[in-house]
Symmetry: C2
Subunit: 362 residues, 2 copies
């Protein structure tokens, strides 16, 4: 039963319909307070209790070890990318960046004013996640940074790498893959994600950071940029985006009820397989340029034989009620983002369109 158009947007993206319905029901009167959750003080008991519950649920969902803090921060991952350097590196200390696509480049760019950026690995063209055994880094680096899932290029490093014991802490941008499958957080110094893909709403991000990193001196900066202080104040150093936080909580709770990250791995692999199968079985009509073992199970980009056909495919999809299939302007083509909230049914509908479109235009 298709209750609404299938939304393949890359982020902001589809939310679970039950989450939106609950938010709708509670919008004017949350938790018996006689007011919207967004009208209440973040320092009042009801919201504080909500926030504690959300952290607890997120710890369960992601199996976050006890020696990590969880920060909920306003805005997106790009801000975190700048603050990583300010908080966890000394001025101009070396930091190593694995560059596997557009978002790795963004991360590196935000850090460049603050650290001595070195490239740990960078395939050309972007068609795979480079083998961690081939990454270069220095023991003196502040950290090694990689992008777990390249949202635009559809390239994933699904397994958290195990670096040698003398390696600096590993930091993962998991904006578009967090909670899509189990992840070995204990191998990481920090992991962060904008929430607007798997964690629900736009306007809030999550940073999970090992305690010892929070003890680093970092660089001169305003208090509002100090993660240790934010941790001390339970992410309420200033007024946090409470409504976004609440929606994130509803989404996390939904994922737990759906069976957690193991259940989502199974579903996501099946959804991705459905699309890659159509692509690989299309005799080259649909092309995906990513090496098979680096293919993302969250974002499936593909190209038709010409830019005209790409455009026609997008047009047809929109007429049929599909949303968000146009590829990112950086690489063009088509992109289907199939985060946790997207059911198999939506993916099947897209696969059907692809098969039909090829029959008519192939």
């Amino acid at each position: 039963m298709q209750t609404k158009p299938w939304n393949f947007s890359a982020g902001p993206s589809m939310l679970p319909p039950s989450v939106l319905r609950q938010a709708q029901r509670e919008l004017l009167d949350w938790n018996g307070q006689g007011a919207s959750v967004m009208e209440l003080s973040h320092r009042g008991a009801p919201f504080m209790e909500l926030a504690r519950g959300i952290e607890s649920d997120l710890r369960t969902l992601l199996a976050i070890p006890d020696n990590y803090r969880v920060l909920f921060t306003a805005g997106g991952a790009t801000t975190i990318q700048a603050l990583l350097a300010l908080n966890f590196a000394a001025p101009n200390q070396r930091a190593d960046y694995v560059v596997s696509g557009h978002w790795s480049q963004t991360a590196l760019k935000q850090a460049r004013p603050y650290v001595n950026v070195q490239i740990a690995a960078q395939p050309a063209p972007f068609d795979r996640s480079p083998d961690p055994a081939e990454w270069t880094w220095s023991r003196d680096s502040a950290f090694v940074h990689y992008t777990a899932n390249e949202t635009i290029h559809g390239i994933a490093q699904r397994e958290v790498p195990i670096l040698p014991a003398d390696a600096p802490p590993l930091i993962a941008d998991a904006s578009s893959s967090i909670a899509s499958e189990p992840m070995a957080i204990e191998r990481l110094g920090a992991i962060y994600a904008g929430a607007q893909k798997n964690l629900g709403p736009v306007g809030i991000s999550v940073l999970i950071v090992r305690n010892d990193l929070l003890e680093r001196e970092g660089q001169p900066r305003a208090d509002i940029f100090r993660y240790a202080l934010q941790a001390e104040r339970d992410s309420m150093l200033n007024t946090p985006p409470t409504f976004n936080w609440y929606l994130l909580g509803l989404t996390v709770r939904w994922m737990l009820e759906q069976g957690g990250t193991r259940a989502f791995r199974e579903r996501n692999e099946r959804k991705a397989h459905t699309l890659y199968e159509v692509i690989d079985g299309s005799d080259g009509f649909y092309r995906n340029n990513v090496q098979p073992d680096s293919r993302s199970i969250m974002n499936v980009p593909f190209f038709l034989p010409s830019a005209d056909l790409d455009a026609l495919f997008v047009q047809e999809s929109q007429r049929l009620g599909f949303i968000g299939l146009k590829g990112h302007k950086a690489i063009g083509g088509i992109r289907a983002s199939i985060y946790n909230a997207m059911p198999q049914e939506g993916v099947d509908a897209l696969a059907e369109l692809m098969t039909d479109f090829k029959r008519r235009h192939g």
Copy 2:
């Protein structure tokens, strides 16, 4: 007709009920898109058009001159306070801060790592907004900063000061007074506000800045911290908090429909007068320590004869369904925040409680 408890929270605070009802109606299907506004791409035509309309409405509401840009930024005013220094001052350049209460101190603290902070004026105790004629500043300063309304202390500088022609640009934190009454923006270099008081939702802020300030070199910083770049990209350098932006837009539209800032000045003065009249007529039972011409029309703090009575008053108010009357922990006592969304009826209900409470405990 009291449809819900009266919410005097300082921020996050009460939203206009009609705004929340519209958001509720549209939460699963906005603008005929078949999806929530928070599920759609910020770069898609529907959201871009929404954003343009919101800026246009805000320009009308606040009478923003053409030579100013309007930025919508994720997070709160505290982040802006750090970024003002990074964007508009050279490293360690002097900047002059008028300190009229808690939030001026916060603004100054965020800037201190980046600029040579000087105090332009600082009354002790905090009982008035210092006379602009007595502010000290240097022609070589990057800017002069003041807080138009001190949310905790209930102290306002309601008229935008006219500084001598050789003064540096004046920057106003108007987080808790923006849109409460007409404001001469053309006298300012920049004005900013967290939205969670008069502009509606938490999680987004507005920065209105004169074009020439955006041309300043500022200090080394990540792209994500560059206001000129954010202006160039229409506040979409990265994924913005779209749902918060949408709610802000609904609130701005509501204020226009209600008659704009002139209408709100009249309402807000009447609401504030109602409360100050009870305070001043209470033979000292209720005390407000602010000098009359610096009294805020947005936040009315007051004290009872003892901390025990303060606590009892808060308790009683909560039992009767009032929300958010407990004063900020920095100064204690009681605080009634009466932003634009609060109707006279709610203030009358509070005045009645105050009169009744005094009769029983005075």
